[in-house]
Amino acid sequence: MNMEAVALAVFLFTYALIMSERIHRAVAAMFGASIVLVLRIVPWDKLPTYLDLDTIFLLMGMMIIVNTARNSGLFEYIAIKTAKLAKGSPIKVLILFSIVTAVVSSVLDNVTTVLLLTPMLIYIAKLMELNPIPFLLSEIFASNIGGTATLIGDPPNIMIGSAAKLSFNDFLLNMGPIALIDLILTIGFVYLAYRNSLKVDKDKKNKIVRTLERLDEKAAIKDLTLFRKSVTIILLVVLLFFVHDRLGLEPAIVALFGASLILLWSKEDPEGILEKIEWPALFFFGGLFIIVGSLEETGVILQVAQWMISHIHSQGGALFVISWFSAFASAIVDNIPLTAAMIPLIKNMGASMNIYPLWWALSLGACLGGNGTAIGASANVVVIGIAEREGIKITFGDFLKVGAIIMTLTVAVGVGILWVRYVW
């Protein structure tokens, strides 16, 4: 049996299943992984090599921290506080929610962030009697941009960080400035595109302020002690991420340390918290790693990498191709399987060029490419899904008109900065 062809067929079939969403993506990935294991394309003893436990444990640790902190009402508190700070001004709502979404997304996963902030954003838009679409679009873009800024912000970054042994500070220094500039540009663009529908008269504004003042952010705090402990642990974990490379600790260890500390200190029911871990997401990652491992094992990745190297002769060219290819591909395919496939490819290119800037190009394309279409990233799907449930229709075209421009603009800015930094 031609194992190369089988591995490629399983890979393509699984990716097609993931794209169609006919069955759960975790099931698709597990099924594909089981086939390559049954056929011994990936030998059992090599499983630990391909299964990226750094990524899986980092995600698991952060999920435990977030789920425990969520029980305190911390995130609802942040949402209400932000709403009140905006004082009924649509522009302030747009700016503040975008900034808060970006900041929270840079520390927590994007899906959790938008799940927690979108209900409040829709509530305020209804209160202002304004079209909620610009606010929701800005939230989606901010979430994807915020996730780009740090090692723990977006799963592709976690995977890249683990594969390339890049630290939290490496990400912050390389991707942070790009994310900041992109966020400013995005807010400015959304404002310009929807400026006519972001107006409320003075009387209505006063009424909105009065209604918002009646909301009590403290009422959202279900457990003040847990709230304080959660804030302390999250700050401690972020602090440890800043110094993890100096301490010689893997990011996954930091996350697991934070997770165990919050469980120990908060005395929350561990069964309840551990049940809430998104096991399907973790199995999805595990399955993908094994499927991509089968491509590595059979030499498919090496051949693609050699083909790429023969066509791309310079580091600048590789940076350009990887960033734009991963951006356009991420706009169509889920960025997690895309990143899983691109990582070994870039690793194999390391034999003929310095691949350090290419990791940033991949991060840039995989994270920001998601802004291109309505199905480009998980945050997009979640916000559009919530909007649909609330009777707000964001069509594929509505999204594409703004998203494609935002994607092109933000990736171009990122590529420009990386080019100046590493190629020029």
């Binding site: 969403e21 993506r25 609802e76 799940l115 909301l215 919530i386 649909e388």
Partner: protein, 180 residues
């Protein structure tokens, strides 16, 4: 449902699972409902009284006094009871019932009216024959707030803490209602 919509729904279900429903439930516990977002303008308050209405709480006077509104106190003598007494007993008995009801009605209207005026409210009073349920529902249409006793229309019990008349009224009125 189009292809795009069904794809979004499938993806949403696969990515978010039941997490959104849980989050939404938590938000709804402290966010205002849509109708609560609009602060109602209260300029007229309807307050029906009868002999079953006893012990008006001080908090009600305080709450009503927070509105810059006029209060209409109505005492409705049940015309059906009057006619039943007339038919089953005698005309004199029904007249006696009417006389006693009017005396009690005017007394309670005076007392409550004076209490409300002490809280700075402008008060009008009315006493008439009619149907306690139907007439209050009709009158409520011209007012912004209804303040009604749980015992309006009949006595209440432990197993039935809201009188049938009050229950019918609050089911049919479209204005904010305080039940005391």
């Amino acid at each position: 449902m189009g292809l795009y919509s069904s794809l979004i729904r499938r993806k949403f279900r696969n990515i978010a699972g039941k997490r959104y429903d849980r989050i939404l439930k938590e938000y709804k516990e402290f966010l205002l409902a849509e109708e609560e977002m609009v602060l109602p303008e209260i300029s007229s308050i309807l307050m029906p009284l009868d002999r079953f209405v006893k012990d008006i709480p001080l908090e009600l006077y305080e709450t009503l006094s927070s509105y810059d509104a006029r209060v209409l106190l109505v005492y409705i003598i049940d015309s059906q009871v009057f006619s039943i007494i007339n038919q089953t007993l005698s005309r004199d008995a029904s007249e006696e019932f009417k006389r006693k009801e009017e005396i009690y009605g005017l007394k309670i209207l005076r007392e409550i009216s004076s209490e409300l005026e002490n809280f700075g409210l402008k008060v009008q009073t009315r006493l008439f024959f009619g149907d306690k349920g139907e007439d209050v529902i009709k009158l409520a249409a011209d007012h912004d707030l209804l303040a009604i006793s749980k015992a309006y229309g009949s006595e209440i019990t432990k197993t039935s803490p809201l009188s049938p008349v009050a229950f019918k009224i609050i089911q049919h009125v479209n204005i904010p209602t305080i039940i005391y």
